[in-house]
């Protein structure tokens, strides 16, 4: 095996360690877990197009389920992916009301990412250009890129899987979505620094 350079732990790994410590009795480590993963969960929830209060409820439900089921979670290291799955499913359950249960294996597709006009107006010129390019990608790529942008490179594969993207499509490689972003930005003379 070729030696790999020592990389700092990704967010998912740090969250996994905090959760494993929580399970073994270090109760205060749960606070660290919440601080670490909340930005990722917020973006995973908001990328489903649901209003903010509904997203907050979904995130809270996910954390409470995590606490209730802490002992039965087989892979504490995978806690970030577990939470992303629960948050996404919970947002969909809430936004559909109680009309229909979502099947266990069903992963609904996120809508095209939207910004309200007020949010759009506070973007910098460069952010508007980036937003235009993001808008040309498929909804699935928009969702994936939005969520992994708040995590670290080692977490991408787990997050992609929890969002229902085929695992083989990302992993240690760039993946199609990052490649598309790179291509569309690269083709824009106005984007190059």
């Amino acid at each position: 095996m070729t030696p790999t350079p020592t990389a700092p732990d990704g967010l998912g790994t740090r969250a996994g360690k905090a959760f494993a410590a929580y399970i073994t009795g270090e109760r205060e480590r749960l606070s660290e877990l919440v601080d670490l993963v909340t930005p990722v969960l917020w973006n995973a929830a908001r990328s489903q197009g649901a209003p903010a209060p509904m997203c907050e409820d979904a995130i809270q439900t996910a954390f409470l389920q995590l606490v209730d089921r802490a002992e039965s979670i087989k892979e504490p290291a995978a806690v970030l992916g577990w939470l992303v799955v629960v948050v996404k499913r919970e947002v969909w359950r809430l936004s559909r009301g109680s009309r229909r249960e979502i099947g266990v294996d069903e992963v609904p597709e996120a809508p095209t990412q939207q910004l309200d006009p007020e949010s759009h107006s506070i973007l910098s010129e460069r952010q508007r250009v980036l937003w235009q390019h993001i808008s040309t990608l498929t909804p699935r790529c928009q969702e994936l890129l939005r969520v992994i942008a708040f995590a670290d490179r080692p977490d991408y594969a787990a997050i992609a899987e929890s969002l229902g993207m085929p695992v083989g499509s990302i992993g240690p490689t760039r993946g199609r979505c990052l490649q598309k972003l790179r291509t569309t930005l690269g083709s824009d003379p106005g984007w190059a620094v």
Partner: protein, 165 residues
């Protein structure tokens, strides 16, 4: 030409960084979301009763719709079915600056354990025969209190909303 099967490089990371900045700017995580999640988890895990803030004129709690940081408070009372708690904050006597806070508290149950949960962790004291307790050397910032009966684990703990000291 680059391909999707190549390794993620510095440019991809830079693109993601800019994307993160965009969403963090346009749709930021509510500033107190993580604290509210911790509070919900604590209430849930303790099966606790949530005490009500009685004199809300004296301070602002970190509510769901709070857009600005609450102003610091001097004195406040919380009430639950089984117990009431009053706390007053003042500059700590141990330090010569105002970077630390002293809490003088009074709880309606003598011998109750009062735990203050701050950003630095938790501090706990047992109230005396008159229900009084003192916590010196606490940090400024958010704090909530958990009141338990050290002699009886069956009594439901009482938890207060978070206030700023």
């Amino acid at each position: 030409m680059t391909s999707h099967t190549e390794a993620i490089d510095a440019r991809d990371i830079a693109n993601l960084d800019q994307l993160r900045d965009l969403f963090a700017h346009a749709d930021p995580v509510p500033s107190d979301l993580a604290e509210r999640m911790k509070f919900a988890i604590t209430v849930h895990a303790l099966h606790a009763e949530v005490a009500e803030l009685m004199d809300s004129a004296l301070l602002t709690t970190r509510g769901a719709d709070a857009k600005v940081e609450p102003t610091p408070t001097d004195s406040v009372t919380f009430t639950a079915a089984s117990v009431s708690l009053m706390v007053s904050a003042s500059p700590s006597e141990q330090a010569d600056t105002d970077v630390r806070v002293r809490i003088d508290g009074w709880v309606t149950s003598p011998g109750a354990r009062v735990e203050a949960m701050t950003v630095e962790g938790s501090v706990s004291e047992i109230s005396d025969a008159n229900g009084r307790f003192v916590m010196d050397d606490l940090p400024h910032g958010p704090v909530h209190f958990v009141i338990t009966d050290p002699d009886n684990d069956d009594v439901r703990p009482v938890i207060t909303p978070t206030i700023q000291i």
